[in-house]
């Protein structure tokens, strides 16, 4: 059978074959795959973390990806943002990423927003997303995503990577706990990899784990990292998971609720 969509001449991959290894997992039932096909995942940021997570979400059979990033590909991105190559420099990341992901899985529906997410446009950009994946490189916009999760619309899979250190946690819709329970506002957090550097594979490690958490959430399989913070230090190779309970009096998710 010859291909349709983006690559005439290549064999069409039937979805039943694509997901055969997924449904071989003991707690994944074929009926759960409909959840994947019907799911929309918003990717907020298509830098290192987005490049690390989006291909696995596309490959696994997520129905629709919403790519949100105002940036253009720069030469300094190529050491870790593996969807992009030299010929893409100057192009919009959402356009280049969409082309790559469409080649990877022609049936994937992709929406592109070449804009920065803000408190003012978050509702318009994220409406309809079943899960939001944080691929940001600043703290203040993460406060916006945290508020979105706490507002109850969708869970947010947070990820961060800087130097050799990475972390992942999932804030469920409604919070309790949320990102601010442990950290307060993260608007002033160190985030600049041009200052602190970053080991390229770190963003792949963190992005892959974010994709795994998003897939687990959609499928209802496994134990999602809510109320827990996963930490990795690639300098030593050490990993830890820290339980983080909701904080009484959290200004974002707990002002009126006792723990």
């Amino acid at each position: 059978m010859k291909g349709v969509g983006g690559d005439p001449g290549f064999p069409v991959v039937r979805d039943v074959d694509r997901v055969r290894r997924l449904v071989a997992l003991p707690d994944v039932r074929p009926a759960m795959l409909d959840k994947l096909a019907g799911a929309t995942v918003a990717m907020v940021g298509m830098g290192g973390l987005g490049c690390g997570s989006a291909p696995y979400l596309a490959a696994a059979g997520v129905g629709r990806l919403v790519l949100i990033d105002p940036g253009r590909v720069a030469a300094t991105d190529l050491g870790r943002q593996v969807l992009y190559g030299p010929a893409d420099i100057g192009g919009l990341k959402v356009d280049v990423a969409a082309d790559r992901l469409a080649r990877q899985r022609p049936a994937l529906s992709i929406v592109r927003y070449p804009v920065a997410l803000t408190a003012d446009n978050a509702a318009a950009l994220l409406q309809g997303a079943d899960v939001v994946v944080d691929g940001l490189d600043d703290g203040s916009t993460r406060d916006v995503l945290n508020a979105w999760a706490v507002g109850g619309a969708a869970p947010v899979v947070f990820g961060g990577a800087l130097g050799y250190e990475g972390q992942v946690t999932v804030v469920p819709a409604g919070g309790r706990p949320c990102l601010a329970c442990l950290f307060g506002s993260v608007a002033d957090a160190p985030a600049e990899c041009s200052v602190e550097g970053v080991l390229g594979p770190l963003v792949g490690v963190v992005g892959s784990l974010q994709a795994a958490e998003a897939l687990k959430w959609i499928l209802g399989a496994g134990h999602v990292l809510t109320g827990r913070l996963w930490l990795v230090d690639l300098f030593t190779g050490a990993m830890r998971v820290v339980a983080v309970p909701a904080r009484r009096g959290c200004p974002v998710c707990g002002a009126t609720e006792a723990v």
Binding site: G159, G160, A161, E165, G249
Partner: protein, 66 residues
């Protein structure tokens, strides 16, 4: 005093508060989360939350890059 910090026991001088421990360890208070015996200590409470011998603490820096 003896404290368990990020999974490892260590001897420290007598330190009155969580904030004093952060200062002793050279950790900035900026974008840092602290769990004391499994409970979150709010950043604004770092300098008044008392430390006790054999407290178990997790000190986590928020990592913002991406």
């Amino acid at each position: 005093m003896e404290l368990k910090v990020n999974g490892g026991w260590r001897e420290t001088p007598e330190l009155p508060t969580v904030g004093a421990l952060l200062t002793h360890l050279g950790v900035t208070h900026q974008a840092v989360g602290v769990l004391q015996n499994g409970q979150v200590v709010a950043r604004e409470a770092f300098d008044r939350e008392p430390l006790h011998d054999r407290d178990e603490l997790e000190i986590v820096r928020f990592v913002g890059g991406g």
